[in-house]
């Protein structure tokens, strides 16, 4: 690739007190790339993507996002966060705001968009995630799958350069998993740069350019999905795949 990567992590180390959550992580994410992160519980997947928008501070190493050094002060952090969309396992919609208001908040406050523009943008993305008719409802009135699609639309309204997903379907009832995965697949096909933590191996196979396996804070193996699933190199990867694929 010739262009600068959207995310460049170099030798990142992260501790929670005495516990080392990330060990020597180096990772480039290029424009348009889709990366799936997997690994056992506690391996540091969430921590890794949360470092990209500084929900976690790192102790060592460098992170550049969209050409801006993340380790250089508060102003940079807020600038970066505007360019990085994030979708959480628990949706984290604002319960006191309607779906439409959830989607309009950051564009009007952060990007200083007019109410009318922000509403038009919000409706466009709500249509893309196929729930424009829910715009006036409150999050608590929607199903889990619908809430997660609103969360995706809310992040997209900021026109992010990259989208981070932290187990977006893990809190959903099984019958709602697919509507969210379909939305994410559409997004991938439109060329969005994505880093997805998920145990949905079908999604990884279909959408990922690279699959990364983490264990105990380290990146153990990185491969294209075909190689990753059919001929993993590392023992730990094989064990893990044996467990999740049955």
């Amino acid at each position: 690739m010739t262009a600068d990567p959207i995310v460049r992590m170099v030798n990142v180390e992260k501790w929670f007190g005495e516990f080392q959550a990330l060990r020597n992580i180096s990772l480039d994410v290029h424009k348009g790339e889709k990366i799936v992160l997997c690994g056992p519980s506690g391996s540091g997947k969430s921590t890794l993507i949360r470092c990209i928008n500084q929900l976690e501070k790192i102790e060592q190493g460098k992170i550049r996002v969209n050409g801006i050094e993340l380790t250089e002060g508060k102003q940079n952090v807020e600038t970066i966060r505007q360019e990085v969309g994030m979708v959480f396992q628990q949706f984290n919609l604002f319960p006191h705001l309607t779906v439409l208001e959830n989607c309009m908040l950051a564009p009007t406050k952060v990007r200083k968009a007019s109410k009318a523009d922000a509403a038009a943008t919000a409706m466009r993305f709500l249509e893309r995630v196929k729930i424009p008719e829910q715009a006036e409802k409150y999050p608590a009135q929607l199903s889990g799958g619908q809430q997660q699609r609103v969360a995706i639309a809310r992040a997209l309204c900021m026109s992010p350069k990259i989208m981070l997903f932290d187990e977006p379907t893990s809190a959903l009832d099984p019958e709602m998993v697919n509507e969210v995965l379909d939305t994410m697949t559409d997004l991938a096909q439109e060329g969005m740069t994505m880093v997805v933590v998920t145990h949905e191996m079908g999604f990884a196979r279909k959408v990922a350019d690279r699959v990364i396996f983490m264990d105990r804070g380290e990146i153990v193996e990185t491969a294209d999905p075909e190689t990753f699933f059919t001929s993993p190199q590392q023992e730990r990867t094989k064990t893990f795949l044996g467990q999740v694929m049955h």
Binding site: L55, R81, Q82, A155
Partner: protein, 218 residues
């Protein structure tokens, strides 16, 4: 000479009720402003804001209200202010309310789920927008019941201002008692007036509490 407790005496106490209400209102209004500042400082990421707020809260929680009142009353004099019960009482109760509301609201801010903070950070919302649009509206819903509860405490607490010579209903009751020597009658009337103010507030607080737990259960 002695007088018996009659309408005139009742009226005297009732008129003093406005000073009880005025002192409560001033302290509560001032305490809302001060309390917001204290709560925001107390929950700040900056230690230089957090520690003074903690110290203020500890001091006011760890000393009797009467001592706070005395210290402000005599302290103001020390700094060259003329001794004025009105000013001293208003200042002391405002500080007291700021510290207590600050601590109550800190709890409410911290009761807003962590994910709400994270979602606001992730969207790039700055400090002001994050608080005004996301955190404080949710904290406020939790805060209504305990805040009204504190208002009831504050209203009853203003009776202590009688000790520094501030004429509110307790003081008015003492004055009337000195003339009538009918303490049971006089102080029953005073107590009934407090009750008439506090009871509806307590009911309101209870109702808000119930409504909130229902909203949570949804």
């Amino acid at each position: 000479m002695f007088r018996t407790f009659g309408f005139e005496e009742f009226w005297f106490i009732l008129l003093a009720l406005r000073w009880t209400i005025a002192l409560t209102a001033i302290a509560f209004a001032g305490g809302m402003v001060g309390g917001l500042v204290v709560a925001l400082a107390r929950t700040s990421a900056l230690p230089m804001l957090r520690y003074p707020a903690v110290a203020l809260i500890r001091v006011f929680q760890g000393t009797p209200l009467l001592m706070q009142l005395f210290l402000v009353f005599f302290g103001l004099n020390l700094f060259g202010f003329k001794i004025d019960p009105w000013f001293a009482a208003a200042a002391a109760f405002t500080l007291h309310a700021s510290a207590f509301l600050g601590e109550i609201w800190r709890g409410c801010i911290e009761a807003v789920p962590r994910g709400q903070f994270e979602a606001s950070w992730a969207l790039g919302l700055g400090y002001k927008d994050r608080n005004v649009s996301v955190i404080l509206p949710q904290a406020a819903r939790i805060a209504v019941a305990p805040t009204v509860g504190f208002l009831v405490q504050l209203l009853k607490g203003t009776s202590l201002a009688s000790i520094i010579g501030f004429i509110e209903i307790t003081r008015a009751g003492q004055v009337v008692n000195n003339m009538t020597f009918q303490p049971m009658v006089v102080f029953s009337v005073v107590a009934a007036m407090y009750f008439a103010l506090c009871w509806p507030l307590s009911l309101f607080a209870k109702r808000m509490e119930r409504q909130f737990s229902k909203a949570l259960a949804r």
